[in-house]
Symmetry: C2
Subunit: 681 residues, 2 copies
Amino acid sequence: MKLENAISETRACWIWYPGDWEVWLHEQVSLRREMREVMFPPFWRLDSHYSSVLFKYEYYLAEETTVRITAEGQYAVYLDGKDNHRSNKHEITLPKGKHTITISVYNVKNVPALYIEGEIIYSDHNWEVSCYDSRWKPVGSWPSQFHSPHTLPSEYKLETELQVAKNIEKTEKGWLVDFGKETFGYLQLKELSGQGELVVYYGESMEEAKDTEHSVLIDRVTIDEEKGVTYTFKKSRALRYVQLIPANETIQFQIVHLLYEYLPVTYRSQFKSSDQRLNDIWSTSMDTFHLNTREFFFDGIKRDRWVWSGDAYQSFLMNYYSFFDADVVKRTLIALRGKDPINTHINTILDYSLYWFISIYDYYQYTGDKAFVNSQYENMVSLMEFCLSRRNSEGLMEGIEEDWVFIDWADLDNRGEISTIQILLCRSLEAMSLVSALVDDTKRSKTYQHEAEKLKKKIMEIFWDEEKGAILHQRLDGELSNKITKYPNMFALMFGYLNDQQIAKVKEKVLLNSSVQKIKTPYMRFFELAALCEIDAHPFVLEEVHDYWGGMLDLGATSFWEEYNPAESGSEHLQMYDMPYGKSLCHAWGASPIYLIGKYFLGVRPVTPGFQDFVIEPKLGGLEWFEGEVPIGEGNASIYMDNKKIRVKANHGKGILKYKKNEQTLEKAIPTDGSWVEIDL
Amino acid sequence: MKLENAISETRACWIWYPGDWEVWLHEQVSLRREMREVMFPPFWRLDSHYSSVLFKYEYYLAEETTVRITAEGQYAVYLDGKDNHRSNKHEITLPKGKHTITISVYNVKNVPALYIEGEIIYSDHNWEVSCYDSRWKPVGSWPSQFHSPHTLPSEYKLETELQVAKNIEKTEKGWLVDFGKETFGYLQLKELSGQGELVVYYGESMEEAKDTEHSVLIDRVTIDEEKGVTYTFKKSRALRYVQLIPANETIQFQIVHLLYEYLPVTYRSQFKSSDQRLNDIWSTSMDTFHLNTREFFFDGIKRDRWVWSGDAYQSFLMNYYSFFDADVVKRTLIALRGKDPINTHINTILDYSLYWFISIYDYYQYTGDKAFVNSQYENMVSLMEFCLSRRNSEGLMEGIEEDWVFIDWADLDNRGEISTIQILLCRSLEAMSLVSALVDDTKRSKTYQHEAEKLKKKIMEIFWDEEKGAILHQRLDGELSNKITKYPNMFALMFGYLNDQQIAKVKEKVLLNSSVQKIKTPYMRFFELAALCEIDAHPFVLEEVHDYWGGMLDLGATSFWEEYNPAESGSEHLQMYDMPYGKSLCHAWGASPIYLIGKYFLGVRPVTPGFQDFVIEPKLGGLEWFEGEVPIGEGNASIYMDNKKIRVKANHGKGILKYKKNEQTLEKAIPTDGSWVEIDL
């Protein structure tokens, strides 16, 4: 034990039970979904923070010192376990010598949080906390956000910025306002006056805002103002259009603003190419993705506003090629896992539990943040135990009880043993093995590795059809189905489960075979196109991106959609879930070109955790030239490529430039001093 | 599925997720402990209600019908799973035919609760509820309490009644008020006026109220009133005395009242005997017990005001011989168990988990309420799994990690294998076996029975010392200790684990052996004296009750204490936990004469669940005569006995009167028509 030294008190931060602030925030945020003014809570169990927790810190002081205590909640302080001698004073003098300070904090409504200011003793990550279950854990905190006693964790809000309506026009009964593009925030009316009710119909499309019978989001306010006032609506909404319908003609306003609400992030990637359409797709992808990058990674901003593990898995990957915001990844992973006991899969979806394991391993690979992985290890093991306990007698997972086996929005029979699920489980076991090794749990690491190998062998034995050159979709009641879908084949390819002959067959007979059922969601097009990039089908991918994402742009999209079927037309594009405006027009999974471009065209990927070692392997894929930037951990990599040369530089880690010249794959070290290296092709 | 019939809508009641209202109430109540104005939360994890739940009811209607919906929290209603078509209207018309109505309710602060009024469809125990964990459970409710839409479950309060101070006298700095006996409630001052602070020091003893430096409970109010007002303090407190100290002479009041706060119960037992001292003990026990019978069974009213499983185990038994209030037993059992995951023992005390199992079986035996036992079965199995998973390699339980092995407040070494713990575990396994059989889980029933038998054998093999005629206290690191304590011997005797020879030895060498360590708490004197009654040592028990409880009366007690050591004197009696007034002077476990008299003197006990069959075996035990009443399920039994005759009657079940005449034990059926039967002795 070392003697405490005096240091700056600005190092203090708010502390709480680890994960509880995220769980609490997740609950708040999850309840914001509405359907025509009626609340719409999530389909899964919402967990709560512990209302009563105990913070502890052991110190050794040469002289007594004074601390000031601020808490969210009631608190009681005592020393050395003498709990009958407790105080709730704001300022307390701590005696010299070796002592343990214990602070009990209670708060039902918000997370019990603690802030200790002092020259020597202050609250930080070195404190421990317990929910009185006889275990002590390192506290949770977010020092870069909550480092002042006046910034309360319970008052966390995203930033806002004023946006001005692009166009206002009279409609039959009111006004139609266009903000020019998809956005999100609090509607604000200036110089509002009159008497009576004013109703707002929001629309991601003009059709929706105009259709008062079916628009999904509605707000109403009753006004009684002689003189004009500024009124800001209470709830943040997704919109491009709003229709305002007053109860009578007394109601007037002059200006329509939006307090655009957003998570402050740094745009750490850039992309520009010879192909303007691709540039537009990249930039609309970034808009779409930022709108969905909020307290957590959302699926879509209009409708669910929920945190879904499969959707988040892709958002994590897009984030590594755009904002590289580690905090929102961590918040999302914690919120998804929730608390024990585990009675259902994450989001009640079998595949969504599996994506969570892989996401944590990816997070480590991209950030090198071992501390976070450590903090989640117990949660990973227990969720994996839950999964493994639900295998059938063959050791395969299938939907049991109320499990939802999703895979994709598509015409799929997901009963029985689905090959895609087994492949995701196998990858999850591999992720668990790697993480176990990381936290020095060698025994578990070996067990998981062994389970993964056994399962991989079984998958190929059961589902691989040599003649068809494909992994089949399903086995039900012992009967192998003839159906081929792209899903298992693209995942197996991406995860490296196929040999060269199998890859060649899958490419021809599945991925590039137009008679195989087409994928209608950007969600699964993400993996489909990534898999095609893995086998160097860049020109094909580029064409698909052009057609598919470009197709949405042609229809006037300012953000990418939850689903896009080129075969549909007109208002069909707005429908989903049996509702005329059921479809989300700003869906995170629509933004996947960010990932495809960053990883497979600019070609940047980590080799060791946190980009200590990394590779840049740019591929033009049919473009004349491109230039761009991609975050590599704490630094950035810049890439330029045309048919004649490649230029790269990087200011972090040890990079290797990989390129093809005269049919040979060559490598060159990237200077570690941040200077450019150039290759003639 | 039957067609719904129109019935009276007064049958509707509030419904909630089962156990959640009790868990919520437990959290509220547990936080009321204070130490000199500073909060003092419990030492164990406090669980919360689920904030987001889903109610479901399937109906089949010949004609459409209207229902009115009231909820605690936001709600959304939809039919037949069409969750995009939801409503939050108060009045809804339900279509005819077969449909499922689903209502989502959300409430963070209070328990999401639902009340449906309608002629045909209304909320009651037939509804189901889920916390979105893919399981549906029968709802929780308390129809006799919450049957009106205006009586909100979140506003539950005990009753109050005015009590007038018995005496007020001036002290040096203020006034000392005596309410004449131990009581509990909200202090009320009439015609209070003046400017400044008024501080109240509460005392269960006069010493405590007078000692402003050390009294445990303090309230303060700042007054600024010209004219006299009535002021009621916000917090209910335990007290007999209060000292009021005003900041200055402007502060005046005329009358001191107490809003005595209590749980409305029926005093269903009576006792009167030839021994006035015993009558006083019985009646002070009833006062003590009623004060501690509240939202839950508390340990004591001044200090902890918490729900402790070992304490509650005794309260349950006392309750069966006094109020026979099943609701407070159920509330207490639910609160104690809390929610999953189980990370520690109940109250963090190993023995306290074990008492919980036995308590549930006792509850069934006394009430015959199978529905409640059913509702707790899953909770019982998982807690037992937790316990069994913590056995050592010998199959015995010992305190591991942070477990607290309590047994009693006494000079005890409770490390290693404590025989009392194994005996309680054995009894718990037997209780589990009986309950498993009750819910038709034959397989588990057999397993538990087998485990119990194995354990019983092992206990006697390891701990029984034939020579000493006693079960030894402890085995530590394989070393059997020589120490004899009364605990394991009295439990083994009560639970029927000893043969006749062993009983005789234990009686002589342990229970009646004055060189064996004496028990200082009424808590364990409860079991000690019960065990002695089991072996017909009534005259000895009567003498002990006289001395021990009578000893407290002699010291002026108006309620019985947490601990009483006749060897102490003066203010020593008030001390505990290193505090001058640390001892609770109104502790539930002090009231055990209720049980001893009801079960062993009046002699009433159930033979089959809910007193369908019962025995009355009255024993004078040295008294000249007694008469009394005891609840027997829904009915009551009346007993009179003197040296010449016994008279009993009962208005419920099938009773047998057992008695001794001419050294023979005889039996006689008790008339089922409620008439007296009389026996000459």
